[in-house]
Assembly symmetry: D2
Homo-oligomer: 142 residues x 4
């Protein structure tokens, strides 16, 4: 996917399809949560900032466009990148496709807020997280 440095994969579970035999809409939010978790873990390799209690984040706003439904046993690519970093908030873009296909099933943008993991209150994004993202997302002009 043009402009994306990271993707992760999953297979649609039987428990995730509904009476129309398509993925129930709420599960796409779970898929995006998996994508952002793996982006920070496998992509940015920042597991230690969560383990050390330096950084965490919560959702402020999510916008999802549902283009086509995913179905049972579909293997999905979840593309994720950071497109904007503010002082305490940052924005990620996501595209979900079937593996090896380019046609998006879902396109999404989520605004997150950086929080202090102890108090759960907003805090400025740590400099090291910001630097790591800027280095990783070499195509993005922040």
């Amino acid at each position: 996917m043009e402009g994306f440095q990271f993707k992760t994969q999953l297979k649609v579970r039987y428990s995730e399809i509904d009476g129309q035999k398509i993925v129930f809409n709420a599960h796409y939010m779970t898929y995006l949560d998996i994508a952002i978790s793996e982006y920070y873990s496998k992509g940015l390799q920042l597991d230690y900032v969560f383990a050390d209690g330096i950084f965490d984040f919560v959702l402020a706003k999510s916008t999802l466009e549902y283009k086509q439904p995913a179905r049972l046993n579909d293997v999905l690519d979840l593309w994720c990148r950071t497109v904007k970093i503010g002082r305490t908030s940052f924005v990620n873009e996501f595209v979900i496709t079937r593996t090896e296909e380019l046609d998006p099933l879902v396109k999404a943008e989520i605004i997150y807020v950086s929080i202090d993991p102890k108090t759960l209150k907003p805090q400025p994004m740590p400099e090291l997280v910001r630097n790591r993202i800027e280095q990783f997302e070499c195509d993005v002009d922040f």
Copy 2:
């Protein structure tokens, strides 16, 4: 809630809270699905259009703003109203509050597409559904 003719209620389940002891974000999509279902059933009293296979709908776009987290055993009011009706698409607004409180936990807007339940393809919104909504949402200028 000013301008809303309909609300339904639910109690946050233990299965819906996450490791931060707040409702996991994906469950808000399930809550909104409950709200729109009850809006059509108990509000508009249109169960028969679904039973008769005249009308159904799918999500095209969802936008949610997460203002404050809901917690275990919170009793929530789910407010729902239609704010726009196009030829095949329509837009609903939602507000989630704790019961008897006005402060929104979540605000949402969802664009739906009217489909033919047999083919799952878009179809113009049936006249009787459109009329029923216009009559019910007396405060909205469509």
Copy 3:
């Protein structure tokens, strides 16, 4: 239901049905979790023992028999009673029926272990919880 002092109710959600248009099996475990929570809260009125951190419990063993499937919008009665109290473990029986029907959809037995909420280690069941259950379950010979 003969011998049961407590039931609670819920309506099957669209998010809970699967591609066969019946409730996906895992959701019955969530239903039983709702039943035991409400049994302790509304039945035994023991909310304060959880709030005070005196008592909590975890699952040791669950046995469910699936007699008939529940379907979309079914209103279910969840019957719950304690049938055995050991030193640190106790056993609850559950029956799920459609409201106003006696024919069980699901029958279940769950063995729980009493834990210290701080350490999450097994602890003897507090005397006041045991006494309250024995008083409530007047038909059961413990």
Copy 4:
């Protein structure tokens, strides 16, 4: 795992942990559903019997023993084998462990009933499914 010919793997999702930071009990049923699906697909390689509408199954009884909790990001091995085949019912055993560990987190036994996928009524297990299982489970004396 002694006596098991098949395992599949998954990583615990953030959406699956509860307020005690352990996997919520209902998700183990979803894990076992993934295990049996992959057992038939990747193990027995019987995808075609489902695609052709020759065979399907429903749960009759599940028994799970919860030995130790799984936690966020745990990579789990889900072991699955058939231990008994009757005329219309069959029994599978499951063990869930952390990868590379032998200590079971969950042990389970599920009784399934073979159904006709069109009518959803019980039907004798197809000969070719029975034969394939007997060949695959070379250690089990049916």
